[in-house]
């Protein structure tokens, strides 16, 4: 019984982890940069959802549809100002990590100046609601999040694997120069990927706002978690986030019950290191040592 509940809770937690990591993974997969400010974009998405919800009381699912284009615009601004100047330089990898680390300062404190440090939370009609599946209890909000994550991954997968546009994106991610030779506008694909990646984080922020309250430094917690998820599942593997999320969710829930809740994250971190050493490309990822 408890095993089933651990499984269920773990999978739902995994859904949240996966949800907040999809965008990060997309960006890494295509542009090959690690966005250290990922958690901060999530925070901005959460604020956006908070303000829209308090003003309109509409469903967060709908809110995320509004947030998507807004976050794309923000993504584009950041892309132009911070990311693009660093692409194609000698140390793109290192410099983007550092520049996006700097970006965490900027975004966190921008949020602080604009919206103060107060915690903000919304309560939706579904919050704290759950339904039972046999003897297992499932949270409505988390199930929502899980389903939306699933939908996002499927849609993303469909777009990438089945559409012409997706093929272009994959082409760019596999060989940038060959893509240019095929008449693909790589810069455009990069910019768009970054924007969509950021927009996906924004959507994730909107979806989890009924579950977590938002404040300027909330992103810090999510940032590290999503890196672990993404590396575990495979940096750049478009379905890797889901797998990584589920693994981390299950490991943390099980470790929390069987060992201690406080050290649950240590287990997932150790697993993460183990995977790095044994199969650094992640469980579904591409070769990391090249």
């Amino acid at each position: 019984m408890i095993v089933l509940q651990i499984l269920a809770s773990g999978i739902l937690l995994g859904g949240i982890y996966a949800l907040i990591s999809v965008g990060l993974n997309l960006i890494f997969g295509v542009i090959k940069i690690v966005n250290m400010a990922h958690g901060e974009f999530l925070m901005i998405g959460m604020y956006a959802a908070y303000f829209i919800y308090t003003a309109t009381q509409i469903n967060v699912g709908l809110i995320s549809i509004i947030i998507f284009p807004l976050m794309m615009v923000l993504g584009y601004i950041i892309y132009r100002l911070v990311i693009k100047p660093l692409l194609g330089t000698a140390e793109t990898e290192t410099n983007t990590i550092l520049a996006t680390s700097g970006l965490t300062f900027v975004l966190q404190n921008l949020a602080l100046m604009l919206w103060t440090a107060d915690y903000r939370a919304i309560k939706t009609p579904t919050s704290s609601q759950s339904f039972s599946l046999g003897k297992i209890m499932l949270s409505v909000d988390r199930t929502y999040a899980f389903l939306i994550c699933l939908v996002l991954v499927i849609v993303l997968y469909y777009i990438l694997m089945r559409t012409r546009f997706g093929a272009k994106v994959r082409a760019v991610s596999q060989d940038k120069n060959a893509a240019i030779l095929m008449g693909i506008n790589v810069n455009f694909i990069y910019a768009l990927t970054f924007c969509v990646g950021i927009a996906l984080v924004g959507v994730a922020g909107a979806i989890i706002t009924p579950i977590f309250s938002v404040y300027p430094s909330v992103g810090v917690f999510f940032g590290t978690a999503s890196f672990i998820v993404v590396v575990l599942g495979g940096l750049g593997s478009f379905t890797g986030a889901l797998l990584g999320g589920l693994i981390i969710g299950l490991v943390e829930t099980a470790a929390g019950v069987l060992a201690s809740a406080e050290l649950a994250q240590v287990f997932s971190l150790l697993l993460f290191l183990l995977v790095l050493f044994v199969k650094p490309q992640g469980l579904l990822g591409k070769n990391a040592r090249v």
Binding site: D118, Y119, S128, R142
Partner: protein, 461 residues
């Protein structure tokens, strides 16, 4: 070319900032020297430093405290300041929610601005670092919210704390249950030692201290501790903890968390169907508005322990304090559009008010100046009745010669208000009201979660 211009621009930016930094330093030098001048010329200058975390993880509550102090000074200055004739001035620094930054900023306050008194710090960690700096510079630290037990255990002579320490908050929840022993017996059919208690706390400095208090007090009284568990407040999921609780079937749950994990706990408890007859939370995240926003109606009848009585019965306070209390509420509401949260803003206001209306006048009257020494002397000789303290407890501070031995954990504390107490507050219609001790209780406490609550074990109607 573009590159060069942007380099030049950034260099210019840096230089201009450096320049304005230089300016401020000059002016600070002036301030320090003018402070010194004032002292020698015998003029009394009520000048203090305020240090709060205005950015970083604790920025929310740090800013709230800062606003309360600001309003306190504003209200007093309108009446002419301390003793009606010495206006209060202050310098503010941002500790960035970081102990090292806090220490260096306070050192700067002391050494360049020459403040004799520092008021702050919100976080216990920052308070610990700051108290050490104050000790080195013989500067007074009027600590308003660093509740960790360890803060005053170093024997430092310059740090004073008016409110109770965190372990006492933890002990108070047990005391409250013991106080209601008969009622508990009646409902649950168990004597106190038969009660199964679960203690869950976040593993930050605050939760840990309260949890220790819970544990020590429950153990002393012989309760059956069925769970004693910490979790990280950054967690996204508490289902594992709740599953353990469901298995342990406690009669009492003592819970300490911050906003996010606190509300997460309640939401997930409900989702997973956890039920418990008695639930007592401990201040921190459980008393702030975002917590109420997050869990909505479910907040009602939730008990929480705070170092201050929320919406207290005002009768027992001096009439003047009653007025001040109402005035503060009114002005805060006007200024910020919401009622002040008692456990944060009122608590900060109450302690600053105590300092400027009891300590500072005494220092000036008895010592003839407003310096760290005169203030310290004033504090050490201070003895107040609870009616003079908006925090709701008598006031007398322990000294190095007569340290305060903490009844819960047995620690030795210097500079602690030995009468400081903690209060049981309860949510009614989304607002906290003091329910225990009865002296301040505006409403009758509801010990068992009523059946309307989703976590109710259904032991009472």
């Amino acid at each position: 070319m573009k590159k060069i211009t942007s380099i030049l621009l950034s260099v210019a930016l840096v230089l201009s900032l450096a320049a304005c930094g230089g300016d401020s330093k000059d002016s600070s030098g002036d301030a320090a020297s003018s402070g010194a001048e004032a002292e020698t010329s015998g003029e009394i200058n009520v000048y203090v430093g305020v240090e709060e975390p205005l950015t970083g993880a604790n920025a929310s509550l740090g800013t709230a405290e800062y606003n309360a102090i600001e309003l306190c000074v504003e209200m007093l200055n309108e009446k002419g300041g301390v003793l009606g004739q010495y206006p209060i001035t202050y310098e503010t620094v941002d500790t960035q929610s970081d102990a090292a930054t806090g220490a260096s900023e306070v050192e700067r306050l002391i050494t360049t601005k020459g403040v004799p008194v520092v008021i702050g710090s919100y976080g216990s960690g920052i308070a610990a670092a700051v108290s050490e700096v104050c000790e080195r510079y013989d500067t007074l630290l009027w600590e308003q919210s660093g509740a960790a037990d360890t803060l005053l255990q170093n024997g430092y002579e310059w740090t004073f704390r008016t409110e109770s320490m965190a372990s006492l908050w933890g002990a108070t929840s047990v005391d409250y249950i013991v106080d209601q022993a008969d009622y508990v017996k009646e409902v649950l059919g168990k004597d106190i030692p038969e009660l199964k208690v679960a203690i869950i706390h976040e593993d930050g400095s605050y939760g840990t201290a309260v949890g220790q208090g819970n544990h020590a007090a429950a153990e002393k009284i012989g309760m059956d501790i069925v769970a004693y568990e910490a979790y990280s407040s950054s967690t996204l999921d508490l289902s594992s903890v709740i599953m353990k609780l469901i298995a342990a079937e406690p009669d009492i749950l003592l819970l300490t968390g911050y906003v996010n994990d606190g509300s997460l706990f309640l939401k997930q408890s409900q989702e997973l169907g956890f039920k418990v007859p008695i639930l007592i939370t401990h201040s921190g995240g459980h008393s702030v508005q975002a917590f109420v926003d997050a869990i909505g109606d479910q907040v009602n009848y939730l008990l929480t322990v705070d170092p201050v009585a929320c919406n207290p019965k005002l009768d027992s306070f001096d009439p003047e304090l009653q007025e001040t209390f109402k005035e503060f509420e009114k002005r805060w509401t006007e200024k910020y559009g919401v009622k002040p949260a008692h456990h944060v803003e009122m608590r900060a206001f109450a302690q600053s008010y105590l300092f400027f209306t009891e300590v500072a006048p005494k220092a000036i009257e008895e010592g003839g100046a407003f310096t760290a020494e005169t203030c310290r002397d004033a504090i050490l000789s201070l003895e107040l009745d609870a009616s003079k303290n908006l925090m709701g407890s008598d006031v007398k501070y322990s000294t190095p010669d007569e340290p305060f031995i903490d009844p819960t954990l047995g620690g030795t504390h210097v500079g602690q208000n030995i009468y400081a107490g903690a209060f049981i507050n309860q949510y009614f219609d989304g607002e906290l009201y003091c329910v225990w001790p009865e002296k301040y209780g505006q409403k009758e406490g509801v010990l068992f979660l009523p059946s309307s609550s989703t976590l109710s074990a259904g032991v009472v109607d």
